[in-house]
Amino acid sequence: MKINTYTFDIIVIGAGGAGMTTSLYLANSGLNVAVLSKVYPMRSHTVSAQGGIAAALGNMHEDDWRWHMYDTVKGSDYLGDQDSIEYMCQNAPEMMYEIEHIGMPFSRTENGKIWQRAFGGQTINYGQGYAHRTCAAADRTGHALLHTLYQNNVKAKTHFFNEWFSIDLVRNAKKNITGVVAIHIATGEIAFFNAKITIFATGGAGRIYESTTNALINTGDGLGMALRAGIPVQDIEMWQFHPTGIPGIGILITEGVRGEGGYLVNKNGERFMERYAPHAKDLASRDVVSRAIAKEFRAGNGFKKDGIDYVKLKLDHLGEEVINSHLPGIRELAKTFAHVDPIKDPIPVTPTCHYMMGGIPTNKHGQVITISEREEDQIVEGFYAIGECASVSVHGANRLGSNSLLDLLVFGRSAGMHAADAIKHDLPLHHSSEEEIKAALIRLERWNTTDKGEDYNEIRHAMQKTMQEDFGVFRTEKYMVEGVKKIEELRSRLEHAALTDRSQIFNTARIQALELDNLMEVAYVTSIACLARQESRGAHSREDYPDRDDKNWLKHLLCFANGKIKYRAVNMKPTTVKPFEPTKRVY
């Protein structure tokens, strides 16, 4: 096998919002940067974000980044790192102006400023009332943002390697990360991308579940690569189930609908959220609303079709004008995928896997952190992670809506600044021998040389079904023990599965097989972490441990590829404000 080597100062893996924010910063700093993406950049999953980006601009009413910080800490159920949350909320306004200046087509207020809408869990004055803090481009904010970032990368002449799939990290004898090996999907060319710094911006892994709002490409490639390189993932038991996905296909209906005044009803026509969250009602945190819906199903108050339970999201009372100007994309999606026109009829919705709060642990500069034998934080030199694949950790146990686009912008930029500085201070380029490069190609070789074996599609379906049934909204030891066994068995079966298509040109079957390797790693550590955390916090809801347990569990959980678990302290030391101490979380 011929392996070409391409050398750069910095390589960025992934061209969604996080990857292109960092690459834009680096390209504008004059660095030699390359972006590898398995799809054309504008096909990345950021494009599907709808509602908006949180920032305390104060365009609609008085606002303060500290209020935003309080909401985010509370939303995280106190598992978020307060230094990172402080940094994110404090930098949010400047970040909004920065993307506005480069062309982001925000909706506008009457006086020409960036328009902001209400969103779940966002309040003013430390929980006193709804905040309108979410900066939006109608309900297609992710599309507008991703295209704006792509356009500016075109302007900055960023070097894109489109439709290149990264296979694994390459490490040398001293365990330095020297880059990645990747395959060009169109031609089958294999190359070693040698760089001083490798930045992962590979997004989420929602495809471990059967029902998800996530794109087909959200297969946890960065997490799989990190785990295989001996790096742990953090808080991976924390999976967000969005309250409003279209049943079956899982298409997202933005929380912005409820921000505009829409609300959920059960089959009795009751606005049931009033019982679960008397103050915030339909705008409580996503974990709270999803659990409330699941409880309505158990009480027999849900609708049912084709074996799927659902409730309805009513918005016809908002009027045609509001729907057409603020929610045009939702109207289009509801008509296409739910066959209802929300101007007249409510939209059927059900809790659907949406976001991975956990990920590769990092500090606020995006530097990847692992943990030593003595349980001390250790920075992995030359390796960064940003966006959904990272756990920085601003979302903790539950992410607030409109904080994910903010996360990828703020930490995309901070990683860019830190990496640029490191290069300017003469960070060396480490090389790798042919053996070291080949070691990273083992799994590709495995798929290329296994002649007979099980169909990997069967394994994927079985994995997704197990995750859905045993590691969903509610979790119990009895079922999870069985679930872990099933995932372990599927994981070993996958090692012997086979491909029939061995062609070089645009072999998408091979890419799907390589993606499934990554999904399986994420499913495995998720199952282990879910079983390990014996409390209920944020999105992790244990029926056998229904309460939050700060005494024993106010800590990050790290899981390695071999199932080994370690813990890290949650950061409670913001630098400019007093820490927010854990209190009972009520909405």
């Binding site: 599907s48 506005e100 087509p105 009457e110 481009a137 500016n152 066959h339 645009f506």
Partner: protein, 232 residues
Amino acid sequence: MRFSIYRYNPEADKKPYMKDYEVDIPSDSDMMVLEALLKIKEKDETLAFRASCREGVCGSDGMNINGLNRLACTTAISSLKPPIVIRPLVNMPVIRDLVVDFTLFFKQYERVQPYLQNNDETPQTERLQSPQERAKIDGLIDCILCACCTSFCPSSWWNPEKFIGPAGLLWAYRFIQDSRDTATDERLANLEDPFSVFRCRTIMNCTVVCPKNLNPSAAIAGIRRKMAEKGS
């Protein structure tokens, strides 16, 4: 239901051919074409196509379905007359099966300098833009770069290198219409040759097939109007 799909793998096939697949689709199903393709791929993994968001916003799965360019993920099977004939996007080089080469398409997009240009001093906060000014780019910012329009445009078939095509021109007009962009004169000057814009013959295939219901034809008319205003 029968699907007849264009197949071509340059490593194995001397020339392209159509291959038939039978897929069980219940009569009351609301399945999209993409879901059927994914089912087919589980049986025949050699079939190559692109797909990502599966909700019509990423622009990956443009293809020619029963004669029209559309997105597989937003085209309901129930809306089509069987057999369902699927071919790659018209007039674009085929890499394999339904996967086409986007190189020229993106080159034409980049020709229009598809990014905001503003050389004024950068303010401390946002640049102001009234809701009325912002409304002028509604329907222009929503393009997903799927290439359904440009691939279906006869003017692009005749002059693929010189005529920018409807997608690129829609983006050109998006920046011309943005009150924050200060490069309108330069943008119009760059389009003044006989081909870039003027090869559009108002056939309007672009507007007919756009899966986002956008109107590139009106955008092209808008550019011509701006040029006429500038000339007068």
